[in-house]
Amino acid sequence: MEDEKSFSDICGGRVVLRRRYYSPYCREFGLSSARLSLRSLTAVTCAVWLAAYGLFTLCENSMILSAAIFITIIGLLGYLHFVKIDQETLLIIDSLGIQMTSSYASGKESTTFIEMDKVKDVIINEAIYMQKVIYYLCILLKDPGKPHEISQVVPVFQSAKPRLDCLIEVYRSCQEILAHQKATSTSP
C-alpha cells in the first residue's frame, strides 16, 4: 500500500509525506522537501558576484573576481553535498528496529539504525527552537539494563520539520507498530 500526501513545514514551505506499507507491521515514511530552487540560487550568485565586483572597483585587484567565481562553485557543491537534505525516510520494522535515512541533494545518503531493544517509545515533543516553539517527532531510547529510564532522545525529520498534522499521522502509525511489538514481545 502506498500513498502520498502534501503537508507544510514550520516555515510554511511544502513537504510531501509518502507512506509505504510493506507488510502489516513494516512501514516506511518518506518526507521530501522542495528541491533547491533556481530563484534562490540565482539570487545568491548575483549577490556574491556583485559584492565581489564592488570590492574589485575599490581595490583594482582582479584576483577578487576569480576568487568569487571559485567560492560560488565550491560553496554550491559543498551546500548540495553536506547541507541540503532532499528526503528523509523513517523505516519501522516490528521486532527488528527503526532505520532513519537522509538523502542529500548530491546523492549522498546517511543511515542510522536503532535496534528495537533500545527503543522505549516514539513521541511528539515540543521544544523551543530559535524564536519558536515547535512540535517534533523523536524516538526515546532506553538502556536495556534500566528499562524505565530514558537514556537518549533522537529527533527525526530534523531538516524537513513538518507541522503537527503530519507528525500526528506518523505518530499514530508508529504507535500501532510499537503496541503490536510490545504485545508480541511480552509473550515469550
Binding site: 511528539i124 521544544a127 526515546l140 530514558i150
Partner: protein, 134 residues
C-alpha cells in the same frame, strides 16, 4: 520576620543619606575635573590627576557596554536553550525522583509529573473518543 521587612529603619535612613551625600560629592568632583582647565588645577596644587580624555571616554565606554549587554543577554539566552536532542526537554531529576501517592476516593489526586508517553497518548491517539464526547 523582623529582619527582612522593607520598612524604614534608622540604619537605613543613615545609609541612604550617606549614599546621597557621596553621590552628589562624586558628581561635583567629576564636573570640576572635567571643566576646570589644567592650569588652574595645577595652580591650586592638584597636579596628579588623570587625563581629561577620560572624562569623555569613560561615559562612552559605559554606554557602549550597556548596548552590548542587550545583545549579549539575547545571545546567552539562545545559547542556554536546550537543543532538540537533549533529555532536559523531556524530564529532569525532580521528575525522576518523585514519590507516588496512593489514590484516595473522592479526593483531588496529588500533583505529579505525568510521563510524556501518557501525555502523547491522551492528546494524539484518543482524539476520536474526545470528539464524540463533545
Amino acid at each position: 520576620m523582623v529582619e527582612n521587612s522593607p520598612s524604614p529603619l534608622p540604619e537605613r535612613a543613615i545609609y541612604g543619606f550617606v549614599l546621597f551625600l557621596s553621590s552628589q560629592f562624586g558628581f561635583i568632583l567629576y564636573l570640576v575635573w572635567a571643566f576646570i582647565p589644567e592650569s588652574w588645577l595645577n595652580s591650586l596644587g592638584l597636579t596628579y590627576w588623570p587625563q581629561k580624555y577620560w572624562a569623555v571616554a569613560l561615559p562612552v565606554y559605559l554606554l557602549i557596554a550597556v548596548v552590548i549587554g542587550y545583545v549579549l543577554l539575547f545571545g546567552i539566552n539562545m545559547m542556554s536553550t536546550s537543543p532538540l536532542n537533549s533529555i532536559h526537554t523531556i524530564t529532569d531529576n525532580y521528575a525522576k525522583n518523585q514519590q507516588w501517592k496512593n489514590y484516595q476516593e473522592d479526593a483531588i489526586p496529588a500533583l505529579r509529573d505525568v510521563p510524556i508517553s501518557e501525555v502523547n497518548r491522551m492528546f494524539f491517539l484518543e482524539t476520536q473518543e474526545l470528539n464524540t464526547h463533545n
